[in-house]
Every structure is written in structure tokens, then in C-alpha cells.
Amino acid sequence: GLFVWHLKNTGVRQLPCRFVHLCRVANDRLITFQYFNFLKRMYVTQYNNDLSQRAKPKSEAVVSPFRELQQLDQEKKVVHKISPISPVQQPLSETSSKNELREMKSAADTEDLVTLVRARSKDDRQWKEMKLRLDDLPGILARLSKIKLTALVVSTASAGFAMAPVPFDLTCFLLASLGTGLASCAANSINQFFEVPFDSNMNRTKNRPLVRGQISPLLAVCFAASCGVPGIALLTLGVNPLTGALGAFNIFLYTCCYTPMKRMSIANTWVGAVVGAIPPVMGWTAATGSLDAGALLLGGILYSWQFPHFNALSWGLREDYSRGGYCMMSVTHPELCRRVALRHCLALIGLSTAAPVLDITTWTFPVVSLPINLYISYLGFRFYRDADRSSSRKLFFCSLWHLPMLLLVMFTCKKSFLEKEDKGDLLSEGPGRAMEIRLP
């Protein structure tokens, strides 16, 4: 339902008929991916967001899903995280003919881009009454909570849940997803609450609700509390305390560590990557109740993914970062920025190979994922060597489809629960047992 709503609101008319197709629709704003566990298809929606903030936006835009993407001039970009402005991009898929819009809106925007741009420029020049209208409220809260980024975060958590080697429990899955979503909304709102004057000065984020005075800071904090408290409570009581603790920790990490650190030290990027890595770990612990090697591997994959994603994005936003006072590697240590991105692209290859070793997937996974991992590593290398706009953009856009694809392949190569059981003493049980559990 959430995805449908998103798609409808973003004006992507062609998407509904694409629901059943496993494909990526590269909207100038959206790349959708939807998880249909029972159909074994994953369809994830990604919205380009500003990457400035990565850490898991469980709170925040996932950098991957958690990161906020930053705006790239007038170019269009698929925003993964927080609204970034992206350059005009080549359609990533055959259906991306809709990309004629010039500006990417923040993930929070649910209006149609074209009308939005026109409406915005008119709106911007007028004085507005600071009165909250009830029918505007859902849209405002959606933008405040960075709903698209939240959706991405929830999908990575679902991926973690789906990869766990236990029988699929629908209630647990729904509770975990809802709890994670609420926690993400809370964290995103607090992040926006903290960053009002800085957001006003950056192109990507200047249309946020608090910046535009559409909602008062008090209401933003109350909304965050009313999402965060039930969200964490739901995770702790309805799923398990470990997941709840991880959720609470992630909110703290995102709002109290990552957000202030963005302006203090370049180490924020690493903290942000951890924020991004925690949701799939949460999904896994929700399913199994414990922190296994598998959870850490999934977290590791998302952690590594954050770097090429964010570093490539931030390359084009150096002016805004510099003026806004954000300490980012791309501004202060450009060589390190590119090196780290490349390093983590290669790490992805290593992590993919570790998956079958840890009994999470079959050996098909590293083999099938090698092409896409090699491709992103190649782009990472080009970015490292060339250090220019076009290589950074290529790497960024690649990261947008690379993650959903990698997770999808991982899911389809998942080691069957049954298979593992078979390794045991099936002889004593007889054939009846084998029919009992169905796993993906």
C-alpha cells in the first residue's frame, strides 16, 4: 500500500502497470522496487535524495536508502535519499522516457515535478500565512519524515528479514517493517528540525516544510516523538527487544551523532554509513532474534555500498557544502573521497563472496553478482582516476540500481532452509517432514 501511494503521488502513471514486472523504472525522481515476498519479486523504490546525510535515516534517508542526496545543479538525478538535485540523466531503463523534468525534488515531494516547479517559483515569491491547514498536513508530514527515504529504509529492513534463514512469519514481518518505518520518520523529522537555516541555504533542501514555515518546530518535534515512541515500542514489544534497541540506537546515531557531525568532521560519512547499515540488521534480528554473522554481512554490504553512493553524489555538491559549512570529504580531502569510494566498491565483491561461506546464499550468488560488482568497481576506478563530474555521476547512478539488483540476486540465491535441514538426518524423519516448511 505504501508503495502504491508513493507511486501515485509521484505522478508516475506508468508504474501501476509495472508492478508485476521486475524492472526498474527510472523516473526522474523515482526508481521503484517493490518487494513481493510471496511473488519472490522485489521492487524497490528509490528516490534520489540528497546524500548529505547518510547515516541511516532510519531516520534519514537511507543513505543508500539512508543518505540524503544532494542536489546537483539543474541536473536531474534519481534521488536515493534526501532530495537532491540531480543533473539530467540518461534514462536508466527503457521506460525512463518520462525524464524531462529539470529538477529533482526532494524525496519528500510528492507533487508532480513539472507542476511543482512552476507552482514553486510562484509560491516562493509570495507571503504566506503561517497557519496549518489540516488537508495540507499529510503532505507536509510526508515531506518532514522524508517518506520516500523511509520507504527505502523499510525495504532494506525487509531485505534483511527476507534473507534470514527462518520460516517466514508475516505478522513479525509487518510489525518489524512498521516499527522501522516509524523510527525512520522520527529520525528524519528531528534531522530536519536541527537543520533549518542550513537547509535554507542549500538548493537541494530549501523547500522543506520547516524551512518554508509550513509547520512549526514544536509540531515537528511532537510528530517525531509520536512516531518514534510507538515505533520503538512496537519493535521492542511486538518483535523483540534486540530489534527495538537497534532501532533506538539508530535514531540516536542519526540525530545526535551524524547530524551534528556533518558540520564538525569528515568522520560523519562513516557514522552515516553505519546508520545505513543498521536497518537490514534490524530486519534480520526481527526474524531470528539474534545477531548472526548473516546480519553483520548484510549490514556490511549496505555499509560498503554507502561510500560509492554518497561520495559520488557529494562530488557535485561541493560548492553548496562549502558555503553551508558542511565538512565533507569531497571538499576537504578529495583524494581520500575517491579512494574510499573505490575501496568499498571492491569490498562489495569480497562481501558477496563471503555470503555463501556463511551459509546465507548458495555459491551462485557471488558468481551472478560478480558482473555488477565488477561494473561498479570499474566506475569507482574511473571516478578515482578521472575525478570529474561525469565519472562521479556515472558512479552515483550505477549505485542506484546496483543495490536493488544485488539484494534481489541475493534473495533469489538464498540458501533454502529446507536444504539446510536436509543436510541433517532426514533419513530418520521420512519424506513427510520435507513438505512441511516452505521457504523462498
Partner: protein, 147 residues
């Protein structure tokens, strides 16, 4: 904003600071608490406006100077034959961005501290005002229901 309005009004972003100015509504029976809130917000607005206007102006000015000095070093003029303003590419500008960021680091740290303090104070005051108003409304409701 119209004279009969009972709300605050927010305007378009300022040219220099990119912040949106707010015109605050002063209710006739403003309580001391509400006055404190309004004054805190006005003062915060003035501080932010001052900081960002000066900061952004410094940024554009230093950027111009940087471009000018670099172009001169390369032996070019500020405007080429067609009259277009000459610009440097992103890689050359990167040096300027890095330098500007490190030069202004302390200033930003100070501003961050002040901003967080002001933000929390104002939000807390808003909470207090909202609570007082809610209690007042409840009391009024009870009185009316009683009548």
C-alpha cells in the same frame, strides 16, 4: 500581510541570507510568556539573518576574487570576446571551496552552538505556550459545559 490577520506571515527567501523572514502577530492580550516567545523568535531571526547575509556575501566576494586571481595567473580576462563572464571549472574551484570551508570552520562551530541553543529554547517556549493555551481552553470548556 493583511491587517486583520491573526497569524504570523512568512515571506519569500531573502536575497542574501536565503532565510525566510517572518512577521509576527502580536495579539492584543499577549501574556508575558507569549511575549518572551515572540521576542526570542525575533531575536533569533535577526541573528540568523545577520550571520547568513554576511557569510553568503563573503562567499561570493571571495569567490569572485579567487576567480579573478586565477584567471589573471592564466593570463585571461574576466570576460572573453563574446562578453560572457569567464569561469573556472569545478576542479579549479575545488581549491577555493576547501580553503573557504577551513577558514570559516571556527565561525561555523560558534554559529552551530548558538543555533542549537536558540532552537531548543524557542521550541521549549512554544511548548510552554501551547500547554498554557490548552489548559486555558479546557478550563473555558468546562465552564461552558457547566453553564
Amino acid at each position: 500581510p493583511p491587517a486583520h490577520s491573526c497569524n504570523d506571515w512568512i515571506g519569500p527567501p531573502d536575497k542574501h541570507s536565503n532565510l525566510r523572514p517572518v512577521i509576527f502577530y502580536v495579539p492584543p492580550e499577549e501574556s508575558p510568556l507569549e511575549r518572551r516567545l515572540r521576542e526570542a523568535r525575533q531575536e533569533a531571526q535577526a541573528c540568523d539573518q545577520r550571520f547568513w547575509a554576511r557569510h553568503n556575501r563573503a562567499f561570493s566576494q571571495e569567490k569572485e576574487e579567487f576567480i579573478y586571481s586565477r584567471l589573471k595567473a592564466k593570463g585571461l580576462e574576466m570576460r572573453d570576446e563574446t562578453g560572457q563572464k569567464a569561469t573556472l571549472n569545478a576542479e579549479e574551484m575545488a581549491d577555493f571551496y576547501k580553503d573557504f570551508l577551513s577558514r570559516n570552520f571556527r565561525k561555523h562551530m560558534q554559529y552551530n552552538r548558538d543555533w542549537y541553543k536558540r532552537n531548543f529554547t524557542i521550541t521549549f517556549l512554544m511548548g510552554q505556550v501551547a500547554l498554557v493555551r490548552a489548559l486555558r481552553w479546557l478550563r473555558w470548556k468546562k465552564k461552558n459545559v457547566g453553564n
